[in-house]
């Protein structure tokens, strides 16, 4: 299998404070990787830096998607190249319906003159919403406005399903979900798994990984990966917590900024 996604020595800071301190990770096509770790270890910064949030400044390192350096691209170009970030806190956009937004996003990929027909789009969107057990009215609701935490997460997965990205980053997609919603979201993700598509799942808890089986599990502390393993690593973390890793590595404070 080829390397779909590579992160090399990534350093990133916010407001002058370095959060990522040399992050390395290689993901092959079709793989699912989970990144686990306590709060404040740089997990969400990793997601935002890869996608290009303007608050985060990448100071060193490279990120390749299919051999292309995405750090050279604008946020929209990264999306068009095949990156997708399901966000922990999606923005609300008043006055813009979910359907209008998604159709524009799809058409941004298809280009001028090749826009998706309205009927085809509506069918696709309805179909995916059904899979996610979303109320059809969400099609015409304003983007994320007044959505509950769980509804926002489902809406992120809906976008992922319709935009068919190559590399999906799920940032704490399980937070705020009850067990039924978690199962539905996981089923949505599993339905998207394929030989060509890879996933990077960021989570606090092992719970999500009961439903989305990762190929590799990584533990993040102090802004970098400190331990990697298979699904058994996640299970041990669930049973024993993070202390044993800290002890083994001699880490007192796992958060960033305490090098």
């Amino acid at each position: 299998m080829s390397n779909l996604f590579e992160i090399k020595g990534l350093k990133s800071e916010i407001e002058g404070k370095e959060i990522l301190k040399g992050f390395d990770l290689t993901i092959k096509a079709g793989e699912v990787h989970a990144i686990m770790g306590p709060n404040g270890t740089g997990k969400s910064t990793l997601a935002s830096s890869i996608m290009g949030h303007p608050k985060y400044e990448v100071t060193e390192g490279q990120v390749f998607l299919n051999g292309e350096d995405v750090l050279e691209m604008g946020v929209d170009e990264r999306a068009l190249a095949g990156l997708f970030l399901a966000m922990q806190y999606p923005s609300e956009i008043t006055g813009v319906t979910n359907a209008d937004f998604l159709r524009s996003a799809i058409n941004a990929r298809r280009g001028e003159g090749n826009e998706i027909s309205l009927i085809k789009f509506v069918r696709q969107m309805e179909g995916k919403m059904k899979e996610l057990e979303m109320n059809p009215e969400f099609m015409h609701r304003y983007l994320n406005e007044g959505f509950s935490g769980g509804e926002k997460k489902r809406n992120e997965i809906l976008q992922m399903m319709l935009l068919e990205p190559k590399l999906v980053i799920l940032d704490e997609i399980d937070s705020g979900l009850d067990i039924d919603a978690l199962k539905i979201v996981a089923a949505g993700v599993n339905a998207m798994r394929s030989e060509e598509r890879s996933f990077l799942i960021i989570t606090h808890y092992q719970r999500l990984l009961n439903y989305i089986k990762p190929d590799h599990v990584h533990v993040m502390m102090q802004g970098r990966i400190v331990r990697s393993g298979g699904p058994e690593l996640a299970e041990r973390l669930e049973a024993e917590g993070y202390e044993w890793i800290k002890e083994e590595l001699g880490i007192v404070d796992e958060t960033v900024g305490q090098a």
Binding site: M51, G52, H53, P54, K55, G74, V75, D76, R78, A79, L80, F84, L85, M87, P90, S91, I93, T94, G95, V96, D100, F101, S104, A105, A108, R109, Y142, L143, Q159, L163
Partner: protein, 465 residues
């Protein structure tokens, strides 16, 4: 020194045609010019006298000391009357070719085929084309230009003309009263409900020419009409003045909606007096979109005169580089149980300035009256500014007044979110702006909503980086 051309952003409708006017009044304003205008129109004595008295008012009144900067506005440098052709076309075929070409560029014939109940397109100072669907006529609806109304329906016109906006109301109302020309006249008889909007297109097209149209709408008891007006103007190198007066009488149980989208070139002074009187249980709705112009001062007003009357103003204002939109609304509650709603949306960009200026007034008899005011501003960059100036007058203890104002910027997180789905920065900004004005666009007839979205899209292009 010659006046400098204002620094303009590219203006889409900046084409000019070669049409030669039959008569031009020359620059400046004198009683002789007013007499000539009246004479050429073959007006009755009372109208000539009204014009001359108004002119005296105009001379006497001072310029407003508030609002926008009018230092560059020179009343002696404006042409007060241009008559484009000797007669008015009744059918499309009869309309002069050059004028038609201009309308073609604006897409009017196409629009007409689809939706129009009647078209009355103002070209320079006279209405040159006007048509009306037969069923409206059969219902007794009068829809014509105001000059024709003066000739053909003098008794109705005389009864209502200048009763809502008297000449002495303000300097620009006085000016309009002295030199008015064109505009729409609508009379809807008792109980008649016009199902299709009546529409007029306006266009200024002679350098330095003022456009002083005068619109009068009378909705008799229990009737309904929706009047729609869209304006575009070509680019000129010196300042142009547009100063209209719109008067609306909404009788008992009647409802009038007046929709305007104005897209002025960035050198136009747009100083307009719009006012309606709503009688018992009547409803008046102003839907008012202002894009462009050098300075717009416009505050659609509703005098809520009868018990239970309702007033609404829904407006958007977009100000770009070198532009000032000083716009708002006035709600005058004079009777019990009257209600009013003002929703004002403003966008400023490239150093543009938007001001919301509004009045909510409750008279002694306004027992149980309610007013709800919501002003939202979206600022697209650090050069642009906004102000909110609400005035309240309350002479009754038992009224409810709610005022809410927000100022926001396009947020980094919103842009990031939309762009992370593949939209460019321009597309993302546009989408946020469209969402912001959606409460306005959703109230427009479909073809206008499309036009509005196109205009906003055009306005937003180049707003980025």
């Amino acid at each position: 020194m010659a006046k400098q051309m204002p620094d303009m952003e590219e203006y889409q409708y900046g084409f000019r045609d070669e049409h030669k006017a039959v008569f031009q009044s020359g620059k400046g304003l004198t009683p002789e010019i007013v007499r000539t205008i009246s004479e050429m129109k073959g007006e009755p004595e009372w109208m000539l006298n009204f014009r001359l008295k108004s002119l005296e008012q105009f001379y006497k009144m001072s310029m407003p000391t508030w609002g926008g900067d009018m230092d560059e506005l020179d009343f002696n440098d404006i042409q007060y009357y241009v008559k484009p052709s000797e007669r008015q076309g009744k059918t499309w075929e009869e309309v002069p070719e050059e004028i038609k070409a201009t309308f073609d560029k604006l897409g009017i014939p196409e629009a007409e085929q689809k939706f129009l109940a009647g078209v009355s397109a103002q070209y320079e100072s006279e209405v040159v084309y006007h048509s009306m669907q037969a069923d409206l006529e059969a219902q007794g609806v009068i829809f014509t230009d105001t000059d024709t109304a003066l000739r053909e329906h003098p008794e109705i016109l005389k009864e209502y003309f200048a009763t809502v906006v008297p000449a002495a109301d303000n300097k620009f109302a006085a000016l309009n009263s002295a030199v008015w020309s064109g505009g729409s006249f609508i009379y809807v008889p008792k109980g008649v409900k016009c199902e299709i909007p009546l529409q007029a297109y306006f266009r200024i097209n002679s350098e330095n020419m003022g456009q002083f149209e005068r619109t009068l709408i009378i909705a008799d008891e229990g009737s309904f009409v929706h009047y729609v007006e869209g304006c575009t103007a070509p680019v000129y190198s010196t300042n142009s003045l547009h100063s209209a007066v719109v008067e609306i009488i909404v009788k008992k149980d009647a409802r009038v909606r007046y929709t305007t989208i104005q897209n002025w070139a960035p050198n136009i002074y747009n100083l307009v007096t719009k006012r309606a009187v709503a009688e018992e249980n009547a409803t008046m709705e102003w839907v008012d979109g202002n894009i462009g112009s050098k300075l717009t001062m416009k505050y659609p007003a509703v005098i809520l005169k009868g018990r239970g009357a309702k007033g609404m103003v829904l407006s958007i204002a977009v100000a770009g580089k070198g532009q000032h939109q000083d716009a708002g609304a006035k709600m005058i509650h004079l009777a019990p149980d009257t209600t009013s709603t003002i929703v004002s949306k403003s966008i400023s960009k490239h150093g543009g300035k938007v001001t919301y200026r509004g009045l909510a007034s409750f008279g002694r008899n306004a027992e149980g009256a309610k007013a709800n005011i919501k002003c939202d501003t979206l600022i697209l960059d650090n050069l642009s500014t906004s102000d909110t100036i609400p005035y309240n007058e309350i002479f009754n203890d038992n009224v409810t007044l709610e005022h809410e104002a927000t100022v926001s910027k396009v947020s980094e997180d919103q842009l990031f979110y939309l762009m992370s789905r593949g939209l460019s920065e321009a597309e993302a900004t546009q989408m946020i702006v469209m969402g912001f004005i959606e409460p306005f666009t959703k109230e427009l007839p479909m073809e206008y909503a499309v036009e509005m979205n196109r205009l906003i899209k055009f306005e937003m292009e180049g707003s980025i980086g």
